[in-house]
């Protein structure tokens, strides 16, 4: 076993410092060490996107990143996007438009979608599908996920216009 490293992460605005083996994967560190269990492990092979977090402004599959690589990073997980009593527009929209069934993929979907709407604030359906291509859902058939994201985009844009 190699030596443990001193790791610092800022997750959802909170600083964490701890010792970890460099080989620990970010997803397991978040879930098992920091008890941040919103990001899920679907495939553990970089395919499904259930483990998606935002790291230094990038959408990242946290099953394919060592905690050593993330050292010093700012990370946002679904827990940092909204709370049960204060849902994010995207979360509200997924509820409203039935964008989930079992809900397993949902934290990754919504985390990726927040970034997608930063990249393209007013996406077409095609852009939503292309921008969500790294996230797999085994239940919904995607139709309602796309609908939820498009509806959230309209709502965010309307709110933005009202504010201006």
């Amino acid at each position: 076993m190699s030596d443990k490293m001193h790791i610092k992460l800022n997750v959802n605005g909170e600083d964490h410092e701890f010792l970890a083996e460099p080989r620990d994967l970010l997803i397991y560190t978040l879930r098992e060490k920091l008890n941040i269990t919103g990001p899920h492990v679907g495939c553990d092979t970089s395919h499904c996107g259930a483990c998606t977090v935002t790291l230094n402004g990038k959408s990242v599959k946290s099953c394919t990143m060592f905690v050593a690589q993330a050292n010093g990073a700012e990370i946002t997980t679904i827990e940092g996007i909204g709370q049960p009593d204060a849902l994010h527009v995207l979360q509200e929209s997924f509820r409203e438009h039935h964008g989930l069934q079992c809900g397993f993929c949902t934290p990754g979907m919504i985390t990726r979608a927040t970034k997608l709407l930063e990249e393209i604030p007013n996406p077409t359906e095609k852009e939503v599908r292309f921008g969500m291509a790294g996230n797999i859902c085994r239940c919904t058939g995607y139709q309602n996920i796309v609908k939820s994201i498009l509806a959230a985009a309209s709502e965010l844009n309307a709110a933005q216009e009202a504010a201006e």
Binding site: L25, K61, T64, Q69
Partner: protein
């Protein structure tokens, strides 16, 4: 899946990387975006006792366009490449190809240098670099050297790069004329069943010159001089397309795997190349 333990380094400059590679030899490997290497380490198909992360090395970042010479640093991500306006104008084939690699999350992490250095026949950048006649800049203990992408690949995962060298950047001349990157895959985000990179320059209504490279149809990318020669002087009519496809089929050597038997791959390669030439010619 938990990889074997390793020591982790994050040097600030290339000299630091070379020193670690010299010190640890075969036991050390560099990490770029990690989206080829980490899956292999998790499967324990790669064991890397000393892992050297390149993320802090400023000299490996950035895209520069100087007149018609384009330089892309090894640590430029696919995401950055896609969103670089100057590059998309100067060499649009890169953006068209990069958008067909993996998915948004993978493109945020995966780098141009990692894709070129990896040596997996399924990677899209190697064929593209051969099409563009890119030069690969390497740095090792004895200094730097340059190798043509067309001479770089020896066999699957075997390249001209020595263990103690790193890939610094790729350089090529901005291509002229029409372009196309066509890729057949089983689903979005998949590696190619067959892919074709085509550049065509047109003068006086005819093909002045062409460059054609194929991906995942041999254990190395295949730059087909024969296919390009068939196009020269033509107006890309049906007979010429057939001749170019025939020449390309003489150069590839696909093997059967979960993407299909050899006959199927050869069939797909022909269709993909025909589409790519047609589209590149339309844009020329």
């Amino acid at each position: 899946m938990i990889p074997a333990a390793f020591d982790y380094y994050r040097p600030k400059d290339v000299e630091g990387v070379i020193a670690l590679l010299q010190e640890h030899g075969d036991d050390a490997r560099v990490l770029a975006g990690g989206h080829s290497l980490i899956p292999m380490m998790k499967l324990r198909m790669a064991e890397v006792p000393h892992l050297i992360d390149l993320q802090d090395i400023a000299a490996l970042k950035g895209i520069t366009i100087d007149q018609d010479t384009i330089t892309i640093g090894a640590m430029v991500s696919q995401h950055e490449l896609i969103n670089h306006d100057g590059l998309s104008a100067a060499a649009p084939i890169l953006r068209e190809a990069a958008l067909q690699i993996a998915d948004p999350q993978v493109r945020y992490m995966g780098t141009v240098g990692g894709n070129i250095a990896n040596g997996d026949p399924g990677n899209d950048m190697p064929g593209l670099m051969q099409c563009l006649d890119a030069q690969i800049n390497l740095l090792g203990p004895d200094g730097s050297r340059t190798v043509a992408a067309r001479d770089y690949y020896e066999a699957a995962y075997m390249t001209d790069r020595e263990d103690d060298e790193i890939l610094i950047s790729v350089v090529f001349t901005a291509p002229v004329g029409g372009f196309a990157y066509e890729k057949q895959k089983r689903k979005i985000g998949d590696y190619a069943t067959a892919a074709a990179a085509v550049q065509i320059a047109k003068v006086d209504g005819k093909v002045a010159s062409a460059s054609i490279a194929m991906t995942n149809l041999s254990d190395v990318p295949v730059w087909s001089q024969g296919a390009a020669d068939e196009l020269a002087g033509s107006v890309c009519e049906t007979a010429t397309l057939k001749a170019a496809v025939a020449a390309m089929l003489g150069d590839i050597d696909p093997t059967e795997d979960n993407r299909g038997p050899v006959a199927f791959k050869r069939h797909v390669a022909g269709i993909i190349l025909t589409r790519a030439i047609t589209r590149a010619w339309d844009r020329a």
